[in-house]
Amino acid sequence: MIKKFIYLEWKAFTRSASFGASMAMKILIGFFMVYFSIIFIGAGVGAFYLLKKMNLEPLVTINKFLIYYFLFDLVIRLLMQAIPVLNIKPLLVLPFKKPTIVHFSLGKTALSFFNWVHGLFFIPFSIVLIIEGYDVLGIIFWFMAVFSIIYINNFLNIILSNIDKLFVVFVGIALAFGAAQYYKLFDITVFTTPFFQGLYDIKGLFLIPVLVLVGLYSFTFKYFKSNLFLDAGLSKKIDIATTENLSWLNQFGTLGTFLKNDIKLIKRNKRSKTTLIMSFFFLFYGLIFFGNSQQPVVMHIFAGIFVSGGFLFVFGQFVPSWDSSYYQLMMTQNIPYRGYITAKWWLIVIATFASTILASFYLFYGWEIYLTIVVGAIYNIGVNSHLVLLGGAFTKTPIDLSSAGGAFGDKKAFNVNTMLLSLPKILLPLGLYGLGLYFGDKTLGLILVAGAGVLGFIFKDKVFSLIEKRYKIEKYSTISAYKQKN
């Protein structure tokens, strides 16, 4: 019976939309996978020696931060890890035993990327510890315990994912602990570090997480098995609809009609909501660069672009795919393409503007830093917004609005054309800024970047005609691509 399941899974994998991508894409995706794997493995190997150099006891230091690591992992999972439930339906009426179905679908989650990626860090780290003379048995027990907790998170996510707003609670908890620790009010690690350290020191303590994992698995199993009915666990959650008029947007005519629709789109779908949260995180991207003397100055403009451009990059990138499920409707209504594109452009501009205002906390780092962000915003509005919309004409990935997965860039959405278009989004301002730094100072660099933005703004009408033409050329292939749902 298991053989049949594996056969189905294999077909599902090889025939999935992302697998059908072109050879160039496969190579690119492969490259990214290898790149990130190397980073993780490198971190696993390097962490020990780096911490040692900083005169910290490596294992104790890692144990100290594990609590945050696991909390963060849970948040990421709640946000992004999809639960495989849907494809169970056709199996129910076939001669499969229910326990087998449940065991298999739970077992499948165990192989998820969100689990094995941790192995890339913890396995090399543990090996280094053993090489460096730590107690072999202790490390093995510690490793087993850590992986048990990772799998506890996996199953917690499955049980908790039905509650929509839960990840906010966990983010809140993590932030509260972090803040309390930073301001020395309360240090959670004082209580958790001895436990994680104990997993190594005290033989047998590792049984606690292992047993919790076993208990949790059997609980999840029972929960799923008793809910394996169409009107219980497999039912689609039906939202209670709220009607919004947003009538204040009526004064903008057709533009207002589209904006109204876009606002509803963002508010009422899981995928777009996730995107909005992602773009919020972009606001803090600059913290890595500003006030960090090790980063080259030229990278400041890089951060400036990203801080205000979060929405532009994660939402704008997928215009018009957001409307993919009803694109045929749009194409038969008397909508001028220009009006449609202009509405999306305004949405991006409004979001960029709002991000720039929200980013005003960077004033803490000084006027100059905030000016960099403002210049980044000008460039985003003047140039990047156009590039993103132009790129949209080539992005022919239908978006399934209801699923949260893939918000970090759908694999299939990586195509060569959009890749090429995303280069000037970042490299061109970087080059201009670098040029300014080379021949003058920061001010000249900023003027150059802002100038490019203003120029783009001046030629907006010309550029829009170009974009419109492109969309019209791509119309038929876009429609047929959107019809192929996974």
Binding site: A241, T243, I479
Partner: protein
């Protein structure tokens, strides 16, 4: 109203539609019947400029559909659920289409009141998004939305499928009323010969992309069609 000239559509060398000449005069109610794969939806998609013809062209009110977009302002259509916006409530959807067709809220409300019976109390004020409605109820929304803005051409693909018997008879009345209006041209496709015969003045049967019958509806039409499709 609609002129088809040397129209064909090929996919990888296979011809799925080939219509030499077809003229649909203004005010006619036109029924398209045929088996699966006969080319009904392909024809409607070509008419709506959703796919490109391999050869030939279609004119809608003397506007060639794949060169100008002006036909959109007087053409209402519903092919399938991909014409619905899942995250809107039915009311919001109607108002959205209304905005695009330059109708104000009062016009839409008047239209909805007129079709209250058709909705059977399952559509309006139900606190449900379109994506959570049943297939049949989604169809009701899509069909009524085509009528917004008094279009001169109404195109419905398989309107009778998925509807309950009561709704089917109500839909037939709506289509007949449209057909009675000399300014409105109605195009309907269906598998169901009887329904089509009842609402259409003229019936064209497609088989493997070719027109195999073109008849003005009379008392014998149903029998003629049934014996044609019976093998």
């Amino acid at each position: 109203m609609i002129q088809v000239n040397q129209l064909s559509k090929k996919y990888n060398g296979t011809t799925v539609l080939n219509i030499n000449n077809l003229e649909i005069p203004k005010g006619q109610s036109f029924g398209l019947v045929g088996n699966n794969g006969a080319g009904k939806t392909t024809f409607f998609s070509l008419l709506l400029d959703l796919i490109q013809p391999s050869t030939g062209s279609i004119k809608n009110n003397d506007i060639q559909v794949n060169t100008s977009e002006n036909w959109k302002s007087f053409t209402g259509s519903f092919l399938d659920e991909s014409f619905l916006i899942g995250y809107l409530t039915p009311e919001e959807y109607f108002y959205f289409i209304g905005d695009l067709r330059h109708q104000n809220k009062a016009d839409i409300d008047a239209l909805l009141v007129q079709h209250e019976e058709f909705f059977n109390g399952e559509i309006l004020n139900n606190k449900k998004y379109l994506r959570d409605l049943s297939k049949g109820n989604q169809k009701k929304v899509g069909i009524i939305a085509t009528l917004i803005g008094n279009p001169e051409v109404v195109i419905l693909d398989e309107p009778f499928a998925n509807l309950d018997p009561t709704t089917v008879s109500r839909l037939k009345k709506i289509i007949k009323d449209l057909a009675d209006n000399p300014n409105v041209t109605v195009l309907v496709s269906s598998h169901d010969l009887q329904h089509t015969v009842e609402v259409c003045d003229r019936i064209v049967a497609l088989n493997k992309g070719e027109i195999v019958k073109d008849i003005q509806t009379s008392r014998e039409t149903l029998q003629e069609l049934e014996s044609f499709f019976a093998v």
